[in-house]
Symmetry: C2
Subunit: 165 residues, 2 copies
């Protein structure tokens, strides 16, 4: 049975929620990484993803500038780093280096792959929408990579307050 | 370590994936329900959701016509019904009635709430995008409901071939 409620309460019950990492490269070579939960596939031919990225994010600035980015699915061992990527701004630091994680060159874009991720998806920016208060970045998939270890599973956000597991 | 791969292989490793039910009402009173996996929050003030709904879906026809719908999070006990909603077309049947599930009147829209769902979110259609080969419906949240039993948890799609659990 249902009872009248609020958006806040509905969103407390939305878990588990997906989480991906959006990886971009700054002009000076720094690797920027952001955790994104508002994400979905939005086309299969061609394959496209939507990321909701807030106005103040350095990631948004770099995607608009470079027109390319990488989407990585973090593995279950990356809870600590994903929390870091999701809660610290990257304007003044190299979040990739600071995280201690390993990166590899991508095939087609000037942003690196996350070496120990479940998968890495290279994207070029197709368009941007803004139906409400958040920019929605649409990326077309132009190259794909998977971990050679297929036993590494995707990290999920299991509950409020970044319950990453 | 990463190896070059394909979209198909990346998508085999995308699980667990979220799943919601989009509920609409036909002119003749039939309840239509569709399972949707391409879904994300796309704004928080006002709250908005995006649903990717394929061109041939009766749900898309009804959303375009009525400009309103309900998004329900199915509970873990609804695996069989969610599979049904995701694999059968509703043009000629009453999927709500055929599912055997209980429905309740909504507050603001002419589509019912799913009584035993985790939550029900009433939406009005805001706009529609089409960055690739799939229409993206954007709905603004206009009323929210949660199950009086907060122990009912969200069903997830745990793997390829509708591994609903």
């Amino acid at each position: 049975m249902q009872k009248k409620s609020t958006v806040a309460e509905v969103w407390q019950r939305k878990y588990p929620e997906q989480v991906v990492l959006a990886i971009t490269r700054a002009d000076d070579g720094r690797t920027n990484v952001m955790a994104v939960g508002w994400v979905a596939i939005v086309s299969d031919e061609p394959a496209m993803y939507m990321l909701g990225i807030d106005d103040n994010a350095y990631t948004l600035e770099l995607i608009r500038k470079n027109k390319e980015f990488v989407i990585a699915f973090p593995g279950k061992a990356m809870a600590k780093e994903t929390l870091y990527f999701g809660t610290v701004h990257g304007h003044d630091i190299d979040k990739g280096k600071a995280s201690g994680l390993k990166f590899e060159p991508a095939e087609k874009v000037n942003a690196p792959l996350l070496a120990d991720a479940v998968t890495n998806i290279e994207c070029k920016l197709v368009t941007e929408y803004r139906p409400g208060n958040c920019p929605l970045v649409i990326g077309e998939v132009i190259a794909c990579h998977v971990n050679t270890d297929e036993n590494i599973k995707r990290l999920i956000n299991a509950g409020t307050g970044y319950d990453l597991q």
